[in-house]
């Protein structure tokens, strides 16, 4: 059995702060005007994905199976917020923010994800959310961060992402260890939670939010002239790490998302033609005012290392 108490101590020992980084150090000049224009929407997406990842961990903390895992998720919630803050600080360093230093507007798919998390995040059963989060982390975080480090030479960016990658590796380790723990539980409990996952709002939420979110990200990566393999390799990691576990395969939600991941990486699959691509188009037509005002957690982001 995994020692979650030891992991919690490691997480506490490895904390870092935006104040540890010299945000005025040389290197910002490596961001050319051309690269800045290309990277700005990408960075805005990345900041928002970290930010909604943070919200996902906040919901997970409410359902953690043990007090240690609850505390780990509490830290992960904060760490994802820290990543969003640090990436926003990088955007400021590179002159990607407007004069007020305001957070860039989220795209419609991110806005939908925020809406679903606000409305249903806390009521999703543990198995569903605990399976979805590592897929998002593998796919979006993994692929996007790799791409960023290949494109940008600024040493401060590399220093920041050394910390972020170290945090993310612990997130993914714990995510899959928790899946092992859940998978080792009684079969009737897994079955009940699976039925709980089959609520219409969950299924619709997954199709309307998650499917276009991941395809939209692929569109953005391709638009920047990058091979989409990067995203696909990251998605494959979800299945490969999950298959190493002994009990994870007992979780039905894991198989559903693994099957979806397999469809996502196969560009010739009908999934793209008949579901994902039309959903991207359809969601882009949703008027933002229909989604209402997001909850105030979306205002907690800051690029300031010090608050007084």
């Amino acid at each position: 059995m995994t020692d979650f108490a030891a992991m919690l101590q490691t997480i506490k020992d490895k904390q870092w702060s935006l104040a540890d980084i010299d945000w005025d150090a040389p290197g910002a000049e490596t961001m050319t005007d051309e690269l800045r224009a290309k990277m700005r929407p990408f960075m805005a997406d990345l900041v928002w994905i970290e930010h909604i990842g943070a919200r996902g961990f906040a919901s997970l903390a409410r359902k953690a199976p043990t007090p240690e895992i609850q505390e780990i998720y509490r830290y992960f919630h904060a760490e994802e917020q820290k990543h969003a803050n640090a990436e926003l600080a990088l955007m400021k360093r590179w002159g990607m923010l407007d004069e007020n230093g305001a957070m860039p507007e989220p795209n419609i798919n991110v806005r939908l994800a925020i809406k679903v998390l606000d409305d249903f995040g806390d009521t999703l059963p543990l198995t569903g959310l605990a399976t979805l989060i590592p897929l998002l982390e593998c796919a979006l975080d993994g692929a996007l961060v790799k791409f960023l480090l290949e494109e940008v030479t600024d040493p401060v960016c590399h220093q920041v992402f050394k910390h972020i990658n170290s945090d993310e590796s612990r997130h993914i380790t714990v995510d899959f260890q928790v899946l092992e723990l859940i998978g080792a539980g009684p079969r009737h409990k897994l079955l009940i939670e699976t039925i709980g996952n089959l609520k219409p709002q969950v299924i619709i939420g997954l199709i309307v939010v998650f499917v276009p979110l991941i395809n939209k990200m692929r569109d953005n990566i391709v638009a920047m002239g990058l091979p989409e393999n990067k995203l696909y390799n990251a998605v494959k990691r979800f299945a490969s790490v999950g298959s190493r576990g002994e009990h994870t395969k007992r979780i039905p939600a894991y198989h559903v998302l693994k099957a979806q991941a397999a469809m996502v990486v196969d560009r010739s699959h009908a999934y793209h033609k008949y579901l994902a691509d039309p959903m991207v188009k359809l969601t882009s037509k949703i008027p933002r005012r229909l989604l209402g005002k997001p909850q105030s957690w979306t205002e907690e982001i800051t690029h300031e290392p010090v608050a007084s």
Binding site: Q15, A19, R62, P67, Q70, Q295, S296, P305, A307
Partner: protein
């Protein structure tokens, strides 16, 4: 982990009671049940207050007869009517599975939190540095004074590791 790295004033136990915080930026580091007692008093005189709530607890405005179930219902109603922001309300709601089931009595806690110079922070505190408190969302919060609740994890650590000179 203790407050040893912090250069400012640290108040422990009930030292905060009747203390004059005029002009000070104050951090209250405590579980919700203690913050509910401390914060209204501190906010009355401090320039600004940051409440680093270690875990949420139910708060009732007055002692409620009739057992835990009744006081939980009253606490839920009190929170719902006092705190309009759904996210802040969520941060103040105790977890159903673990943590304290204790209920604090405080009529002024939520009112104090509504004040623009009083901010609720639930990110974990991971270090005390010379000028303030570092939390896990990567921000260093500069304060002049730290009020450590007796039930805070840091107060417990000071008992085992020794209180800083």
């Amino acid at each position: 982990m203790t407050t040893a790295g912090f250069r400012g004033e640290v108040l422990r136990g009930i030292e905060w009671f009747s203390h004059d915080f005029t002009g000070q930026r104050v951090a209250v580091v405590a579980p919700g049940r203690e913050a509910a007692q401390i914060v209204p008093e501190v906010a009355a005189t401090a320039r600004s207050v940051k409440v680093f709530q270690e875990e949420p607890d139910w708060v009732v405005p007055v002692r409620v007869p009739g057992g835990r179930a009744v006081s939980a219902a009253v606490a839920r109603f009190f929170l719902r009517t006092q705190v309009k922001d759904p996210w802040i309300r969520r941060l103040l709601t105790p977890h159903a599975r673990f943590g304290s089931r204790r209920t604090a009595v405080s009529v002024g806690y939520y009112a104090a939190l509504r004040h623009p110079d009083c901010k609720l922070i639930t990110w974990p505190v991971y270090a005390f540095v010379a000028d303030g408190v570092r939390t896990a969302e990567g921000v260093e919060h500069h304060v002049d004074c730290v009020v450590l609740g007796p039930g805070s994890v840091f107060a417990r650590d000071e008992i085992t590791e020794g209180r800083p000179a």
